[in-house]
């Protein structure tokens, strides 16, 4: 087990370095420098700026510096917010994004798990059809389209909820639901499929044959085994939540990391873009690592791979 986690850990470190390198190189490939604005800058000014941001150094020296700073949690300098580092800017947006993401994830679990379970237990019933229909629809309709429908119904027609902003519980409801729809559909699908698979196993027949009440068969024998694939999709789900948050945070005017990233792209703030990208890739990679380890904990078969 320890050997497995260590091996995975080194792999993750490698991935993170590769991700940083790709992002770093991509940002250097962008045509026109970061000082390419509408207003032409004097050559002396550009030289000074390049010096300040270390852009006058050779590529690999810059990358080395960047990695070194990264090790200390410093994601570099923003090119538009002159007074603040990228780390500071991200940390400012993070609580909002995290609150939104965690709320959405909990909603997704609360909807997806029971929906998938009910569908599997009552296969080919009306509940199953409704569950499959909902998971198909919400897996294909983008969160921001759903968000727009929510705004049209609850803000424009019914005047129940604010269209956006951040600070009160009422402002979290719609973005969280819009963000939760896709992962909820995904969880429902995987739960249903894996429950159906487990229900077909011999040990379930044994459990029933020895006269266990159905409730225990389902909770103790089926659900615990069926949850393993559901755990493994947590990593991809984080990626969904992040991708979704770019658009949802814009739609609902939430000053989170996703919105910062988009602003960074619009302002061509390469420092900020690079920092947020690496931050996101790290978050996903670490989440995948944790999931891998969890997976090996709950399913001993994996370790012998």
């Amino acid at each position: 087990m320890l050997k497995y986690s260590i091996r995975r850990f080194f792999w993750i470190i490698l991935v993170l370095v590769a991700v940083s390198f790709i992002t770093f190189s991509l940002m250097h490939l962008v045509p026109g420098g970061p000082w390419d604005r509408q207003k032409e800058l004097a050559p002396q000014v550009i030289e000074n700026l390049n010096k300040k941001y270390g852009l006058d150094q050779p590529f690999f020296v810059q990358f080395g510096h960047y990695l070194w700073n990264l090790l200390h949690g410093d994601l570099g300098l923003s090119y538009t917010h002159q007074d603040r580092g990228v780390t500071e800017i991200i940390l400012q947006g993070l609580p909002k994004t995290a609150t939104l993401g965690i709320t959405a994830f909990l909603i997704a679990l609360l909807i997806g798990l029971p929906l998938g379970m009910a569908a599997a237990v009552k296969q080919n019933s009306i509940i199953d059809y409704i569950s499959v229909f909902f998971s198909t629809v919400f897996a294909s309709i983008p969160g921001f389209v759903l968000g727009i429908f929510l705004v049209l119904v609850f803000s424009v027609s019914l005047h129940l909820l604010p269209t956006g902003g951040w600070g009160s519980v009422r402002q979290v409801i719609m973005p969280a639901v819009a963000l939760a729809a896709l992962p909820a559909a995904y969880i429902a699908r995987v739960t249903r499929a894996s429950m159906l698979e487990v229900l077909r196993q011999d040990y379930i027949r044994t459990a029933r044959a020895k006269g266990l009440p159905e409730r225990l068969v389902l909770l103790r024998h089926t659900l615990r085994n069926a949850l393993i694939p559901v755990i493994t999709i947590t990593g991809p789900e984080l990626a969904f939540l992040i991708t979704g948050s770019f658009v949802i945070e814009n739609l609902f005017s939430i000053p989170g990391v996703g919105r910062l990233f988009v602003q960074g792209v619009s302002n061509r703030d390469y420092g900020l873009i690079m920092g947020t990208t690496i931050f996101y890739a790290f978050a996903v990679a670490i989440a995948n690592y944790v999931v891998d380890i969890l997976y090996a904990v709950v399913d001993p078969r994996i370790r012998y791979d």
């Binding site: 790709i22 045509p31 198909t136 983008p142 921001f144 727009i148 049209l152 770019f246 988009v262 792209v265």
Partner: protein
């Protein structure tokens, strides 16, 4: 000849069977028909619409749907119906061409990786893993920043990010097909690995690839709509459903239909592709074959 032809069992091909099964699946069929209708509308809109997509008429700003403007007009007095179908052009083009680029990159690399030496295969797959580590929309945005904002570059950006899925799929398919008897037979008869790959393995792995591409199209459509919505996708005045939603959102209280119409369009088109994809998967799944 004709006597023999009549007594022989009717000829069944994989694709013929799959098509018969697909025709029986009403939901998939509905999806396919919706896609065809949208595509048809997108093709003929310049010839049937009395308006141009960028034709502004400041006398009819924000008019609700009426006889003259079936879906009303937007904040600049442009006809929403016309723009919707021009937007469908953008969406369908992005969806299809992004997948074509995915295939052009992913198929050869996946097939090559399956036949390459262990070390090269490992190297390619580790690279694929690294690309997977990025949330895809993020990487698309980064690449788009390098390539610029033209619509072709958006195809390319999406393709450059999403090919890894196809490569992985094709590699897995070929690795498993390589072990089958027909591949062994072809090898025994002296077929070179290039010949066997091109003639036997690739065609046999096409089923799952087609299904994957069908699901990839709505993802590309979403990516474009999302990019355009946040203002870093298709540049105006080229209509895109994403920009239409973003512009409509400014007037959501005065003219809710302006955001509702393109939002519904994105949702319906993506659903249609998903339904078609589900149907294709069922139709092409050999385990269901009778």
């Amino acid at each position: 000849m004709s006597v023999i032809a009549e007594t022989v069992r009717p000829h069944h091909t994989l694709w013929g069977d799959a098509f018969t099964r697909l025709k029986r699946n009403r939901v998939a069929l509905a999806g396919g028909i919706i896609i065809l209708l949208v595509a048809l509308g997108a093709i003929i809109v310049p010839f049937v619409s009395p308006y141009k997509f960028d034709q502004q008429d400041l006398n009819v700003v924000l008019h609700s749907p009426s006889h003259g403007h079936l879906m009303g007009t937007d904040g600049l007095g442009r006809d929403v119906f016309t723009r919707l179908f021009y937007g469908a052009r953008t969406s369908l083009m992005v969806g299809v061409f992004a997948q074509v680029i995915c295939l052009l990159i992913g198929l050869p690399i996946g097939a090559f990786s399956a036949y390459a030496s262990q070390r090269v295969d490992n190297l390619i797959m580790r690279f694929v893993d690294v690309v997977f580590a990025f949330p895809d929309l993020l990487l698309i945005i980064l690449i788009r920043a390098i390539l610029g904002g033209s619509i072709y570059m958006i195809f390319l950006a999406i393709g450059l990010v999403s090919w890894v899925n196809i490569a992985r799929l094709v590699r897995g398919q070929i690795l498993s097909l390589k072990q089958r008897d027909f591949a062994t037979a072809a090898r025994a008869m002296g077929g070179s690995s290039t010949y066997i790959t091109l003639r036997h393995l690739l065609p046999n792995s096409l089923g799952p690839v087609i299904v994957y591409v069908t699901f990839g199209i709505p993802r590309a459509i979403f990516a474009e709509a999302a990019l355009s919505y946040i203002g870093i996708g298709i540049k105006p005045p080229t209509p895109s459903w994403g920009t239409m939603i973003a512009n409509g959102y400014e007037n959501i209280f005065a003219a809710p239909y302006l955001v509702l119409i393109p939002a519904v369009a994105v949702g319906v088109l993506m659903l249609a592709f998903t339904f078609l994809g589900d149907g294709l998967r069922d139709a092409l799944d050999p385990r269901l074959r009778r």
